[in-house]
């Protein structure tokens, strides 16, 4: 599969002597998780950037997993070099300890294999069965019919034994722990149908159900596979995120030497060097240096914070300016980041107790079916029939009630919902998230990054002369500061070409400067540009000659925030704002979007406390948030949504991720969730209606293999067709 990028091997042929072979370079495989890689162009950029690193033999992107695997010469290339190469290509990445696949992928492949076998068997047995049905009573001889049945048995027995294993195993597990799940009636139905068909085949009877048994398995495996794939995606995304946390730190020892050490080995009191652009590895106090820190991961706030000697910094924040030295104050496992991760996993455990719709249905359905089978058996015995006849009728009941449609009812709706949402830029992550989203009646919103865009925007671009903006953008392109990025973005939005400038010098906490033949150009704070007025303007451009130009920034509301909030309120949802930001800006935003209930200065644990209070009051809360400080609340809420620009950890715990710059998809998401629930219930209704028609027939002993096969396929197709309606329905939002 690597033929596209395989590099002609420079190793010597195997026949060469040992001395030559000693020169062969050892290769190893490095897997990196890459953030924000979405399309073919990203894929080519990432592969291209890695291949340019000397010593990289091959690089192949796995887009679905957001990972890239590189084969490198271990002596020449380290994982850090690859991360750096990707960083300069504009992709954040981190090494993850992953071999190709992992347990989740293996389970995917396993189910797919079983589905392949089941489908092959189902098609071939159907071929034989249809011949029997159309020939029976006509010109088909009894011996040919018997041969066809034996052929069916020959295909069906190994296929059922192989393809049915996931169901058998899950049913056995459930029975062992004294529970009933949907797999118990499924396994019972399939095993009894196969066993009885084998027995009837030896008696040359017509009661042969091989086709029904194996078709059932094929349908069920489709449902199971769809469910599994959703889970695999979520778990591999989570593994990527763990990797993206800094995993090593540069420690300065007493002699002044710098050494890379794993985070586990960091003790309080050690001096750690945080280079410009590097993620700070542990919580600590700045011992040397003066820089600006991007705290977005911790607080969700976009504006960087200035830190000086003696001030605290937190693990996971990014050093934007000069290198600093930090004295560690905590162990890795005590850092703020680890604390948030702990709050999050505690909150998630509460959610694990949620029982899915299908399982709730199974708790009623499974015992009911088994009782019906027993009743049929006893009924036939009491009416004076021989026990063989009674058993045949009872087994027919169990085959007919085998919950194929019931097992497909929910996955079919979920897949239809996921594909509808995907086409609108909404990624549904948790398999049961849709069910929980359908139950919400109260919505808690974060401010920064959720109601607002989450990054500073240039607000006075109309007042700035175009040539000045171009000049500023040229300087700003060299910096990673959020204000600089805002200027570059504003320039490109106005169609101004950003001039390429080289020798830009950045002074942390002040600004940028560049020497030109005519003199110095400066972009930065008012003081940096020699201006006394601290008012009207966060950033100034001082050209070689002429008056300085002011740039003003603000975090803007998303353009449809107010409208979305209004529509949610009109639909009957309670809406409130819970932010880690100061009260005053929260109040301004709350007034602007028309929300009555709001709170500011909330720490992660206080946010959880508020959610718990709402839960006590009987509310099912939807949390919409983006910052790392929101992550525990996202995990604690009944359901949660994150914008795509959110911190990775928030995206991991959220049930759904909304892409794009608008908030309105939240409405679509809730509407689809409610519609999915309605459709799933309809599907249960259809499945039960079909049982109401056919179970009496089965109990009366009137069900033939043909009727069983038709009924089984018809009910499965009905529920699937009903689910597909979701893709084109016009949905109204109601609480």
């Amino acid at each position: 599969m690597d033929q596209a990028l395989a590099i002609p091997s420079r190793t010597a042929p195997a026949s060469a002597g040992p001395s030559v072979r000693a020169a062969v370079r050892e290769t190893e495989t490095i897997t990196l998780a890459v953030e924000h890689m979405h399309c073919g162009a990203c894929m080519r950029t990432v592969e291209g950037a890695l291949l340019e690193v000397p010593g990289v033999r091959s690089a192949r992107v796995h887009l679905s997993d957001r990972r890239v695997t590189a084969e490198v010469e271990s002596a020449r290339v380290s994982a850090e070099a690859l991360v750096e190469a990707l960083d300069s290509a504009g992709f954040k990445s981190a090494e993850i300890a992953a071999t190709s696949g992992g347990p989740m992928h293996d389970r995917d492949a396993d189910l797919t294999r079983r589905l392949g076998v089941a489908s092959f068997a189902a098609m071939n047995i159907m071929l034989l069965s249809v011949s029997v049905w159309s020939g029976a009573g006509g010109d088909m001889e009894a011996s040919v019919q018997a041969m066809f049945h034996w052929l069916s048995a020959l295909i069906a027995l190994p296929a059922v034994a192989y393809a049915g294993q996931p169901f058998f195993r899950s049913a056995a597990q459930a029975l062992k722990s004294g529970r009933l799940n949907m797999d118990v009636p499924i396994s019972l139905g399939v095993i009894l149908a196969t066993g009885m068909s084998l027995y009837q085949t030896t008696r040359a009877s017509e009661q042969v159900y091989f086709d029904a048994a194996i078709t059932l398995l094929a349908f069920l495996l489709i449902g199971r596979l769809l469910d599994q794939q959703m889970r695999t995606r979520a778990s591999s995304a989570a593994a990527n995120l763990i990797g993206l946390k800094a995993s090593a730190a540069s420690v300065i020892d007493a002699a002044g030497h710098v050494e890379r050490m794993p985070l586990r080995a960091i003790e309080p009191g050690m001096r750690i060097l945080a280079a410009a652009g590097e993620r700070i590895a542990v919580d600590g106090i700045v011992a040397f240096g003066d820089t600006e820190i991007d705290q977005a991961l911790i607080t969700g706030e976009s504006a960087p914070r200035r830190v000086r000697k003696g001030e605290p910094v937190f693990a996971g924040t990014v050093n934007l300016g000069q290198p600093i030295e930090v004295v560690a104050t905590k162990h890795d496992e005590n850092s703020l980041l680890a604390e948030i991760a702990r709050l999050m996993s505690a909150a998630e455990q509460g959610r694990g107790r949620y029982v899915r719709l299908a399982d709730r249905a199974a708790r009623i359905y499974a015992p009911a079916v088994h009782i019906l089978g027993v009743v049929t058996f006893l009924g036939w015995l009491m009416s004076g029939q021989p026990w063989q006849e009674a058993l045949t009728a009872a087994i027919a009941v169990l085959i007919i009630t085998c919950p194929c449609a019931l097992a497909l009812a929910v996955p079919a709706v979920q897949v239809a919902a996921a594909s509808r949402l995907f086409s609108k830029g909404i990624i549904l992550k948790a398999a049961d998230g849709l069910e929980r989203l359908a139950e919400i009646d109260h919505i808690v919103l974060d401010k920064t990054g959720t109601l607002t865009v989450g990054e500073p925007r240039l607000v006075n671009s109309a007042d700035v002369p175009r040539d000045m903006l171009a000049k500023a953008a040229g300087l700003a392109a060299a910096s990673r500061h959020p204000y600089s990025r805002a200027i570059v973005r504003a320039a490109s939005e106005l169609g101004i070409a950003v001039p390429g400038v080289h020798d830009v010098v950045e002074t942390a906490g002040f600004g940028l400067s560049r020497q030109t033949p005519a003199g110095e150009v400066r972009l930065g704070s008012a003081r940096w540009c020699g201006i006394d007025r601290a008012s009207d303007g966060e950033l100034w451009l001082k050209p070689v000659s002429g008056a300085p130009v002011a740039f003003r920034f603000a975090d803007k509301l998303r353009e449809d925030s107010a409208d979305t909030v209004h529509r949610l309120q009109a639909a009957g949802f309670g809406v409130e704002i819970l932010s880690g930001d100061a009260w005053a800006p929260v109040e301004i935003m709350a007034r602007a979007v028309g929300v009555e209930v709001f709170a500011g200065e909330k720490r992660p644990d206080q946010k959880i406390a508020r959610l718990d209070a709402l839960k006590q009051a009987g509310r099912n809360v939807l949390m919409v948030g983006d910052g790392l400080n929101d992550a525990p609340a996202l995990a604690a809420a009944h359901a949660s949504i994150s914008p795509a620009a959110a911190s990775d950890i928030s995206q991991t715990v959220a049930d759904a991720i909304v892409q794009g710059s608008r908030l309105a998809p939240v409405i679509e998401l809730i509407a689809v969730a409610k519609a999915s629930r309605r459709l799933a219930l309809q599907n249960f209704g259809l499945a039960i209606a079909y049982n109401v028609v056919f179970v009496p027939l089965a109990m009366a002993g009137l069900v033939t293999p043909l009727i069983a096969a038709v009924a089984m396929s018809a009910s499965s197709i009905t529920v699937t067709a009903n689910a597909i309606r979701l893709r084109s329905q016009n949905l109204e939002l109601k609480a």
Partner: protein
């Protein structure tokens, strides 16, 4: 009826051939990265290799 003697085995053999082909492609990783494969199909540029043809910068590779 003698036709059945070779029709049925050949029908089964053809089916089995399809199954084997499917299992092979699954094991060979053809379905590993469906999202990526859909992009690679519309990628016009020739496959690149290191180091000779890797002269383009990452930025150029995007266009």
């Amino acid at each position: 009826m003698t036709a059945l003697a070779w029709l049925i085995p050949s029908a089964l053999a053809l089916g089995a051939l399809g199954l084997i082909a499917f299992l092979w492609s699954l094991n060979a990783g053809q379905f590993d990265d469906l999202e990526g494969a859909s992009w690679r199909a519309i990628d016009d540029d020739a496959p690149r290799a290191q180091p000779a043809s890797a002269a383009t910068s990452p930025g150029d590779a995007v266009s």
